[in-house]
Amino acid sequence: MLPLPGRFNGAVRALAAQRFAATGARWKDVVFERQFDLFSLADARAVEQEALDDGYRFDFSATVSLESEPDKYKRPERETPAFTDGGTNADGRRQVGVGDNVIRKSATVTGPVALISRIEQVMGYLADGIPEGTIAVIDDSGGTLTAPIIEGFAGVICLGGTVRSHLGILAREYDVPTLMNCKIDTLSDGDVVELEVTAAPPAADAYETGDTGHARIWLVGNEG
């Protein structure tokens, strides 16, 4: 059992059992008729508070969670590069990542990257427009964070999901060259990369067999 479900579920079970025993009633007369006696909003708050008091901090997935309850969540750490064994080819370009190609194109795509993970960045692009040729690096395989701007990117590097994820579906519909499930070395805003969107998309059973990551990402140049 994963740590937090193990902890929370165990706590709820223990409370419910204890409260039921204290009723002295039959189960059928308690399970719904006295359900708030078995477990209440205050109990849920106490379960959460106990974990926080022990120093436990939660992983966040939506930025709104971290921003609205910063004391409950782990701060995002600079992640260790997921891809570090890239070689250098004859042109002197270094391979900085791999991913799963969504739509097979006839030519690769090259452009400067922009790392996007926050609502404010999207709002900024909505107001000011997206510089031509920008390749978005997005760690969110959902389709809603970048919903109003996705069509404006020359390419997308998505650090999660699969070609079947919502972002993969939208990339296909919008015909935006996109690599999903990418593992990359550290990239900074403005680094110029080339996406091998000429690679074959993963086979239908690729995510069961693990035969993924065939499209390469090359670093063409660093900003400045």
């Binding site: 994963l2 740590p3 929370f8 969670s65 395989s141 809603t144 519909e173």
Partner: protein, 523 residues
């Protein structure tokens, strides 16, 4: 209310176990649910609980007004939001997953709410049998991941009236851009989940062509309060876009209404398109902009512009939401997957479907992002809840392991008495979202809810009136050309550009060329 006997329990458990296997397969083979914008996993868990507590009561009222099998007939004739992913799979699955959560917490035992479980699954089975009547299966999975519920009379109208396209022409461009915009908007309006999109088919269109039917629901003012004032220039709430592909085999259409094709979906292979709308008040599909290719392209371009603006408007609105508002909206989108049954039956009340039950609200403090992610993963992927284990000799259908996602009802409820048969019918709830103030967008115009329910209660589509309801594809095979069959087909042909009044008995070779007034694609 359920009849509890050995036979009904056997049927319930059979349906439950099949759903358990299918849902496990979908969860481990399809896609990852995540979003940086919405706390998806927390809202999904809350939605399952909301379904558990509310659905049985709401379905009993609907079933009494319009039986589930009649609702299946309605859903089979046109595209309604009670479709494969929402009603056929999601409604029973969400309800049962909520039951698993409560069992895992020790707040429920497998015999509790037995009458609710039997009623929900009985409703679901009757709906599915009627919805899938044409192909005779109960789910897409049972049919080999395929979905062919439309009758010939509807498909013939599509084939005759769709407009041919070639890549780069105005209509091809307009259609591909509109479908992209609709997909994106549907994900956003539904808080990142896929239930605003639907796909069905494939259907054989001859000469190496296949038709898939793509649907998009709840596009403007209607049930979701966050769509008040959004996309109000759009005159319809639902759109159906049938698309014919050449040289593409859609080999999978699963119970989440998503597809896989070989070669993969490529807009360059689109050969013909059309556009229709339908809702709880339409008598069949209503053509939208179908007069000629230019009009269709112009309509699609206009709709895309409206939805592009609506996407930005809605995104800006959602970006200001609190975490609780995002969670409430997502949970309500998921737990209301069956809401359009109430629209069909004329029993819809906003507080029934767009409130989180008080019994659910008590669990909110548990729902941080990590717990949401990991508890969902344990429940539907790892099947790691202790009670999901079975004895050591068993091997589940897809995993081969001794564990099942969903827990059956013990037959001992027929002799034991220490269980509570129902979660009860007293519904009380709330939501942190702004109240709904707008109207409902329907094929009868923008109307208020009382008017919508009143119209729905008095309406039965002509193809389902009287004996027509039982004139299925088998009957047509033996009676084509008869006055009764002609009458049935003419109902589907109303408004058709090329088949109006042609009646039954037409074969593919008899259909007029779609090229007239179209963009030049051959057939």
């Amino acid at each position: 209310m359920a009849e509890l006997d050995y036979r009904s329990l056997l049927e319930t458990n059979n349906y439950l176990r099949t759903l358990s296997d299918t849902t496990y397969w979908l969860c481990i083979t399809r896609t990852v649910q995540e979003s940086k914008l919405f706390p998806m996993n927390p809202y999904m868990l809350l939605s399952y609980l909301n379904s558990f507590y509310r659905l049985p009561t709401l379905l009993r009222e609907i079933d009494a007004a319009t039986p589930a099998e009649e609702l299946g007939d309605r859903a089979r004739e046109v595209s309604l939001k009670v479709d494969t992913v929402n009603a056929a799979w999601g409604m029973p699955a969400f309800y049962l997953i909520g039951r698993e959560m409560l069992m895992n917490w020790g707040l429920l035992r497998p015999g509790d709410a037995v009458e609710d479980v039997v009623d929900v699954l009985d409703f679901s089975r009757r709906f599915n049998l009627a919805y899938h009547r044409t192909d005779g299966h109960i789910s897409n999975k049972e049919f080999g991941d395929r979905s062919q519920f439309l009758p010939e009379r509807t498909l013939q109208v599509f084939e005759a009236d769709l407009h041919g396209v070639t890549p780069g022409d105005r209509l091809h461009t307009a259609a591909t851009k509109l479908v992209a915009q609709l997909s994106q908007y549907a994900f956003l309006a539904h808080c990142e989940c896929r239930i605003g999109l639907h796909n069905s088919g494939p259907y054989n269109f001859g000469e190496g062509r296949q038709l898939i039917v793509r649907d998009f629901f709840d596009l403007t003012e209607g049930d979701y309060p966050w769509l008040d004032g959004i996309a109000t220039r759009l005159p319809v709430n639902n759109l159906t876009i049938p698309i014919v592909f050449k040289d593409t085999n859609f080999h999978l259409m699963d119970d989440w209404a998503s597809f896989e094709a070989e070669p993969s979906y490529n807009a360059a292979n689109i050969a013909a398109v059309g556009m229709y709308t339908s809702d709880a008040l339409t008598d069949g599909y209503v053509p939208v902009g179908m007069d000629n290719a230019d009009t269709l392209a112009e309509t699609m371009e206009q709709y895309r512009e409206i939805l592009n603006e609506a996407t930005a408007d809605l995104w800006k609105r959602i970006a200001t939401w609190t975490r609780e508002q995002m969670i409430d909206a997502g949970a309500l989108v998921y737990s209301s997957v069956a809401k359009d049954f109430a629209h069909l039956a004329g029993t819809y009340r906003q507080e029934d479907w767009l409130s989180l039950d008080d019994r659910v609200q008590r669990f909110k403090p548990l729902m941080n992002d990590e717990y949401g992610r990991d508890n969902l993963g344990e429940m539907v992927g790892l099947l790691g809840f202790p009670h999901q284990k079975t004895n050591e000799y068993t091997m589940a259908r897809y995993s081969g392991l001794n564990q099942n996602m969903l827990t059956g009802i013990p037959y001992s409820v027929l002799t034991d008495d220490d269980f509570a048969p129902t979660a009860g019918d007293r519904l009380s709830g709330s939501s942190s979202l702004p109240a709904k103030n707008g109207l409902w967008t329907t094929s009868a115009g923008r109307i208020d809810l009382d008017e919508y329910n009143r119209r729905a209660r008095g309406f039965t589509p002509a193809v389902l009136q009287g004996a027509n309801r039982y004139r299925d594809e088998e009957w047509v095979k033996w009676h084509h050309g008869s006055a009764e069959a002609d009458e049935l087909y003419r109902l589907a042909q109303r408004g058709s550009r090329n088949l109006e009044g042609r009646g039954s008995g037409l074969r593919r070779a008899d259909l007029p060329d779609a090229g007239e007034g179209a963009s030049g694609a051959d057939r």
